[in-house]
Amino acid sequence: MSFRTVLRRLMAERLAFISLIYLMVLVIVALLAPWITPYDPEQMDVMNMMQPPSKEHWFGTDELGRDIFSRVLMGAETAVKASLFAVLIPLCIGVPIGILSGYIGGIVDDIFMRIIDGIIAIPAIILALGITSALGVNLWNAMIAIGIVFTPQFARLARGQTLQVRSEHYVEAAQITGAGTLWIMARHIIPNIASPLVVQASFNLSIGVLVETTLSFLGMGVQDPDISWGVMIQQAYNMINYNPSMIIYPGIAILLTVLAGNFLGDGLRTALDPKYKMDA
């Protein structure tokens, strides 16, 4: 299935396509954030604390007079980083483990799968908290923790797919012609197990943002002065008796980003389905 075919099918899924565009805009905002924020997001202005939205401050100001719009834009950078880590670490570590485990089978498979079943049984947030505190609380360690937490799931998914593909005729044919294990994995296994992994990766964009904002909200992730939507909500929460509306903007940012990842995943699942029908 060519990239162009997938893209054409994805464009037919309206929500998924809008989500893809939203996520691309988010990445651009994240890259350009230091230059496009109307105010310095750290600039305090005690004369203008907790202002309602106005022409000067589109989303108003927070309890220290900082421009909320600028801070939401800067928060996009953290959210995008979290999403990337939540996808890249599981893809780079979990998938190879899963493929090896499924392809080799036997005792190796048994051992890997017991470890993975065990780790999956620890609630994700607890595991992420444990890893962050073990590595030290800061932005990068939170990202690494998020990546590690979702590695076992990708390993399990890749293993299941590999088990199916391994017994296909084309893999057996390659084995008979004397192709090496690595060659078979790269040429025959990976391309044929990629679709479900891509779909899961898209959902993980959302989960990454959810876990990052939750860790940051608890004070176990991104720390002030680094900006995260989770930190913004935590600070707004302290002011909830005075001005609950400060929660709205970072809250909507989180919601839209998570929804976009989910819709994109749904759309990709349809677009990558081998039984895809144009009118379905």
Partner: protein, 314 residues
């Protein structure tokens, strides 16, 4: 036969428990900042440090420490908090009772509301009710717990002043107080579960309603309502049982957030406190108990599923 099935499941769980306890134990040792130094202060003498390490058993090889800890844990002794000296088993048991009340309430809400929504959306398929339900189930998985919790606090505590924003009363103490205090936190915890159960039951019901035996039932003159409740629901619930079981782990994990927001003295709050304080015996105990709870619930889910599905052979 059934006994053999149970035994097989148990044999499968044991190596898993072994691996995870080892992971939990060594993970905690990675926590930076020597707990002994934290306890004694930076100016402690060498002898004092060595003395305390010996007392805490930290001078022995890690693998030996692990087996000592594990054999004690099996006997219900999880050591003592290195800060307060409190027994970890006692602290964890006390907190677990609170968290389990919260989690059970949340899952009950998720099951009742989720099932109702799914049935409504199927019965009124294609109408605005169906669309509202699908909107809720899409939104429900995208809202972080803390955000929904705050929304509820702002609406029901600050604006309407109906329910308190913090506190906890055990159900054994006062059922009325329990209901008053648990409603907001349990609702906040249940949103994701509501969305997931609605989705799964809805798609499962759609599949079942398409089956031949439902068509047969219709041709015999059964009403839509009867077909749904008398025939479809029981079979459609099967896959949802597994979903409910799997939800438990996530819900238990999310107590970390909800208990912090609502100041509920449960396991989640204990976990956050212990991690921030680097109270490593406490962290080990809390994570171990959370993990064991998940393992036990998964085990029970498997059994319930096997009992409900007549097609499964043990």
């Amino acid at each position: 036969m059934f006994f053999q099935f149970l035994l097989r499941r148990l044999l499968y769980v044991i190596p898993m428990v072994f691996v995870v306890t080892l992971v939990v134990y060594s993970l905690v040792l990675l926590i930076p900042g020597d707990p002994v130094l934290v306890l004694l202060g930076e100016n402690a003498t060498e002898e004092k440090i060595a003395e305390l390490k010996r007392q805490l058993g930290l001078d022995k090889p890690i693998i030996e420490q692990y087996f000592t800890w594990l054999s004690n844990a099996i006997q219900g002794d999880l050591g003592r908090s290195i800060f307060t000296g409190q027994s970890v088993s006692e602290a964890v048991a006390e907190r677990l009772a609170v968290s389990l009340q919260l989690v059970t309430a949340a899952i009950l809400i998720a099951v009742v509301v989720g099932m109702t929504l799914a049935i409504l959306s199927i019965y009124y398929a294609g109408t605005w009710i169906d669309y509202v339900v699908r909107f809720i189930s899409t939104l429900g998985v995208a809202v972080p717990h803390f955000l929904f919790a705050m929304f509820l606090v702002v609406l029901f505590s600050l604006k309407l002043k109906w329910l308190p924003a913090t506190g906890f009363t055990s159900i054994a103490e006062s059922p009325g107080g329990f209901l008053r205090d648990i409603t907001l936190p349990a609702l906040s915890l249940s949103l994701g579960g509501i969305a997931i159960i609605t989705r799964h039951l809805r798609s499962s019901l759609m599949e079942v309603l398409d089956a031949d035996y439902i068509r047969t039932a219709y041709s015999k003159g059964v009403s839509r309502w009867q077909a749904l409740f008398g025939h479809a629901l029981r079979n459609a619930m099967l896959p949802v049982v597994t979903t409910i079981g799997l939800m438990f782990g996530n819900t238990l994990g999310a107590t970390v957030v909800i208990e912090t927001i609502f100041a509920i003295p449960g396991l989640g709050q204990l976990a956050v406190g212990a991690i921030l304080q680097r109270d490593f015996t406490m962290v080990q105990g809390v994570v171990l108990v959370m993990f064991m709870m998940v393992v036990i619930i998964n085990f029970l889910t498997d059994i319930v599923y096997a009992l409900l599905d007549p097609r499964i052979e043990y």
